[in-house]
Amino acid sequence: MANVLTFRPEGIYCPAGDFYIDPWRPVDRALITHGHSDHARPGHARYLATHAALPVMQHRLGEITAEGIGFGETRRIGAASVSFHPAGHLPGSAQIRVEVGGEVWVVSGDYKTTPDGLCEPFEPVRCHAFITECTFGLPVFKWRPQNEVAAEVNAWWAANAAAGRVSILGAYALGKAQRLLHMIDADIGPILTHGAVEATNAVLRRQGYPLPDTRHVAPDLNPKDYPGALVIAPPSALGASWARRFGTRSTGFASGWMRLRGVRRRRAADRGFVLSDHADWEGLHQAIRATGAEKIFATHGYTEIFARWLNSAGWDAEVVPTEFGGEEDEVVDSPGEQAPAS
């Protein structure tokens, strides 16, 4: 099998097209799967991402030299043909397909296989080699249907509202926050947002993604004017003085990690909702099977265990030697970390 992609200290590299995919060190040409900071890093000379992903990237990275591409559109870069296909992770997120001399490799980026109603749903892409994330690549990770989790969140919010408590839900500012906004029952009460969440909402609204009305918690906002409100804020704001303005409150946190009781307790939130924008164990298998790939590379997550399992189950799998820091949306989140200014 020809090496369409190789692994360099800068990141995943395509020699035929002389470009990188989601590189972690500054390079000349970067193809970016989505806007989370562990995938879209600053400092590259040229960026290429989907039209749908670009506005958030520009909002987060500032002045960058960037080109957009439509989902499914093929572009020639050197001797390689590349195209972007929905990954279902968050609005605009893509898998990147690279074809060189008839050999096809796909980089999954982050993905989930079940539709959430807001972002472009995951599309399997046939390939010879599939570089897959495996953030939740253990059989203990199984997600329940989104409507069941939505019902749990709604019930928690409604009960808090009835008891005169504000509900504060911790969720990452890009992706999880908007998915929650889209899936909850906005008729229960007013919805307030932390500045970091609201800034992303504004970008996505301009792109036409349907989000319910929200009100930014500006310094002059009086929480008493919004009884029974649901507040959506980055996780780091929950324990910070920022949250104190809401008085009597119940805190919740939505993440795939909430599946584990130990992590749930470390978060010290009142409620943990098991909701992830990554594929669960079954989802990873569905995606891998649908690619028809004979070679699998595991990255981001429980890579060694997942690759060992795939090998034992008949695939040819290995681990991508990656350098990466904390993953923005799922891996490390610190109560000590400062909340972005509201």
């Binding site: 584990l260 307790r265 009142d270 265990i305 399992w309 990466f324 904390g326 000590g336």
Partner: protein
């Protein structure tokens, strides 16, 4: 199990003690007697006899889930709890029923009489009838260690709220060797004087750590000082001609320390002593490392009895002539204790833990500085007019420990934590210099803040040199101050030394790696403080 699972969920969904107590009190008010009794039992560290081994449980669960056993084993440390790992792995139940907690406990108890294939069939059947939370609790009943954020103290408080009885009275009723399979809720909780079990201990009174200067405690003459021994806290009960020894963890450890059997020859029945079990060389305690081999053994070989004999250094008298003395002031209890032990021969397995005389706090501070020479960890301060309370209560009893020993060491290996810390690197191996080599000498897991663990986790990911399964060798770049309570020689370790209670006391980001301590330095510490 539904009601018990709802109770668990209510407790698990809050971090507030008052909310937990309320949920538990509500359960005690509503549940049937058998469920109440077992709930009390579970939250006071009792559980049904183990019907299947955890090895069998793992094998059956992996088979049911359709994954190889190794994959379950890999998932377990990440989840942090075997009962939970299995509950999360199993396919969804196909049936459901509303049998109460006590039904499932009786089901487990009945397994003991069955052959292994039948046991397996019954466990699989149970898994198929319980939802995820119920399964987790069912598995917990088998694997033991029912720790779900409810202390015995919190449970006792909830029971007090539900029954209107006093917390201290209930705490005493719940002490000792009662077995939920042999008693009833009525006999244990409601009956006037429930059987006056001769082995039943009093709840231990626990001291707080003194962080403020002792001057804040007021006048020295109001206080008693004694050594804080590095042994095992024990309560020795002499009643009706026999003796019982309880550990602080409420474990009956009478058989492990046969030396104390002779206490009945020296002291009258109706005597209860609180003190420290230490190994004794004839004139002073030996190091804790000599006591360690005795803790785990239910029967003690003669050689060990000879090499590491124990005595009880008694510091309180809780019962004399069959009367409960706990409400009397310490000065009276102590006077009676001294009188009781005064005439004992030197080879008796009992001694009064000596009082340290002092007239000024500074004098005591000087004495305390020499605690290591006495094989003590520091001093205890007890208010002379204090009653013997139950549990950890602030104000009357303080432990004033020596500052720990420290060494600056280099982090060389890192491993992810589990449970609460599943996605962080928290388990580290540290080394000191031996010439140009780094020699590993200890592991440490605690002492950093969550923010520091997050920072080091991100660093470990970027600075991994090599992986050995879950262990990552990292660039030797970071120096940590390791604090510990004791040091001793250990041929099992490459460095030749072992530490007691090592933890990270400081991340020395100011210190270059070349300036970490050396093996020579550790060996000097071993010579000075070692045992």
């Amino acid at each position: 199990m539904k009601d018990f699972a709802a109770l668990f969920t209510a407790i698990d969904q809050t971090t507030r003690t008052t909310a937990k107590t309320k949920a538990l009190a509500g359960f005690f008010a509503e549940a049937e007697e058998a469920d109440k009794l077992w709930t009390i039992a579970l939250f006071s560290g009792r559980r049904p006899k183990r019907a299947v081994t955890t090895t069998q449980l793992r094998e059956w669960a992996a088979e049911e889930a359709g994954v190889p056993l190794w994959l379950l084993e890999e998932s377990y440390p990440i989840v942090g709890d075997l009962a939970e790992t299995i509950a999360l792995l199993l396919p969804p139940a196909t049936r459901h029923d509303d049998a109460p907690l006590s039904y499932w406990i009786n089901e487990l108890r009945s397994l003991a009489a069955l052959d292994i294939e039948t046991r397996k069939a019954r466990i699989l059947d149970a898994w198929d009838r319980l939802d995820e939370t119920e399964r987790f609790l069912f598995n917990k009943l088998i694997t033991g260690g029912f720790r779900i954020g409810v202390s015995q103290k919190l449970m006792t408080r909830a029971l007090a709220q539900a029954t209107g009885q006093q917390e201290a009275v209930l705490a005493h009723k719940l002490m000792g060797g009662w077995d939920p399979a042999e008693t009833s809720y009525h006999a244990l909780i409601e009956a006037e004087d429930p059987g006056a079990d001769e082995s039943r201990p009093y709840p231990f009174y626990l001291a707080y750590q003194l962080d403020d200067p002792p001057e804040r405690l007021g006048a020295p003459e109001d206080w008693q000082a004694e050594w804080k021994w590095d042994g095992i806290r024990g309560q020795l009960i002499l009643r009706g001609g026999s003796h019982h020894l309880w550990s602080r963890g409420e474990e009956l450890i009478t058989g492990r320390f046969p030396e104390l059997a002779r206490a009945v020859d020296f002291l009258p029945p109706g005597t209860v002593l609180d003190g420290e079990i230490v190994t004794w060389d004839g004139s002073q305690p030996m190091s804790f490392s000599t006591l360690q081999p005795r803790i785990g053994r239910k029967t003690v070989p003669k050689k060990l009895l000879k090499e590491a004999p124990v005595i009880l250094l008694a510091y309180d008298l809780l019962e004399a002539d069959g009367a409960d003395l706990r409400d009397a002031p310490l000065r009276d209890r102590r006077a009676r204790l001294d009188a009781l032990l005064a005439g004992l021969p030197p080879d008796a397995p009992l001694r009064a833990s000596p009082r340290i005389t002092f007239d000024a706090w500074q004098t005591l501070a000087d004495t305390r500085a020499a605690a290591r020479d006495m094989r003590a960890e520091g001093v205890m301060l007890k208010r002379l007019d204090s009653p013997y309370l139950s549990g950890r209560k602030k104000g009357d009893w303080w432990k004033w420990k020596l500052d720990p020993l420290t060494v600056d060491a280099v982090m060389i290996y890192a491993q992810q934590g589990h449970g609460r810390r599943a996605n962080l690197f928290t388990d580290f191996t540290f080394a000191v210099w031996n010439g140009n080599d780094l020699v590993p000498f200890t592991k440490a897991y605690s002492g950093l803040t969550d923010a520091e663990f997050t920072q080091i986790t991100s660093w470990v990911r970027k600075n991994t040199l090599q992986r050995f399964g879950p262990v990552r060798q990292v660039r030797p770049e970071h120096v940590f101050e390791i604090a510990f309570e004791g040091i001793h020689a250990s041929p099992r370790h490459k460095s030749g030394i072992a530490l007691r209670f090592p933890r990270m006391s400081r991340w020395r980001q100011d210190k270059p790696v070349q300036e970490a301590n050396t093996l020579d330095h550790l060996q000097q510490m071993l010579a000075t403080y070692g045992t």
